[in-house]
């Protein structure tokens, strides 16, 4: 691989890392009152036919589907912060697509209660010109519990319904 391609690969990884950090910032700003809602700056990060899915929340397709999910989320979550770390990003040889894995935890106020969510993101990306966009976001929830109850007994609180 020549120097140009090696540098380009590092730039792609950096740009995808930024994309995921902005995902958290735009999501949280919109929910916490620091940004516009619906968060068009967040939706703009997704390809038109992108998918956001989690077995704990459902499957949402395209900007309208994801916007609807965010509206439901705002109705129940009055505060949240997405902490995202452990980046592993792989860019395809032709730079057309990429994948990323992250671990996350999210303190939130859900239906008026302190709730802690932890899990893993497995994301796919596609390049549009020189921009990277989410093709899919998949969140595997490891635990989702009331903060005062903890995650030792049950990983997903039995009353959970979305």
């Amino acid at each position: 691989m020549d120097a140009q391609r090696r540098v380009q690969r590092l730039e792609d990884i950096e740009n995808i890392r930024r994309l995921k950090a902005l995902y958290a910032t735009h999501f949280d700003d919109a929910l916490n009152g620091g940004g516009d809602f619906p968060p068009e700056n967040l939706l703009d990060q997704f390809a038109p036919d992108a998918v956001w899915e989690s077995s704990s929340f459902g499957r949402f397709t395209g900007h309208d589907g994801i916007r609807g999910f965010l509206e439901d989320y705002r109705d129940r979550v009055s505060f949240c912060l997405h902490y995202i770390l452990g980046h592993v990003i792989n860019v395809s040889e032709d730079r057309g697509t990429a994948t990323g894995r992250w671990i996350t935890w999210e303190p939130m106020t859900l239906d008026g209660n302190a709730v802690l969510l932890a899990g893993h993101y497995n994301d796919e990306f596609q390049r549009s010109g020189e921009r990277w966009l989410f093709k899919s976001v998949q969140l595997d929830v490891a635990f989702l519990v009331p903060y005062d109850r903890g995650w030792a007994e049950q990983r997903i609180m039995p009353e959970w319904k979305w």
Partner: protein, 176 residues
Amino acid sequence: MTGRPGAGDDGAGTAELSDLETRIAKLEEIEAIRRQVVRLNELFDKPYDADGLAGLWTETGYLEACDGQFSGRREIHDFFSDLAASFTLHYAMNGLVDVDPSLQHATGHWYGWETPVVAGSPLIGAFTSRQEYARVAGEWHLAGLWETAHFLCAVDAGWVREAEPRQERSSRLSEK
């Protein structure tokens, strides 16, 4: 820059090399700033090494934190000297670093998580931080840091009261 294989002496080759060097330099500076942010958090966890922390700012650097505003290294040093935690760990995540084309200025945004012990009680805190950096004598320093605290609560209490709901914040704003 002579003798680079394949570059020859033509202007295009030189321009290509210059472009590549600029792009590599930007990636290097992003990495250097990340290291400084790690250093910042390590000094928070001494806990609060005021000498070391003040030295991370420029001479005229600025800090907004804990409802206070501090200008210059002396005020920043005094602020950190007064912090009371006997133990803390700081986690910096979700880093966004933008380096100016001049490679002399940059901005950053970070999510923070902290675990201080204050007056014998364990707390957890969540905050976000907007930062500005300036390169002084080849080293990145903080020109400004603006911290937004989302909550700092007793471990056994949780954050619901402190991370006040949007609705309350909105109604409070509308009363003004």
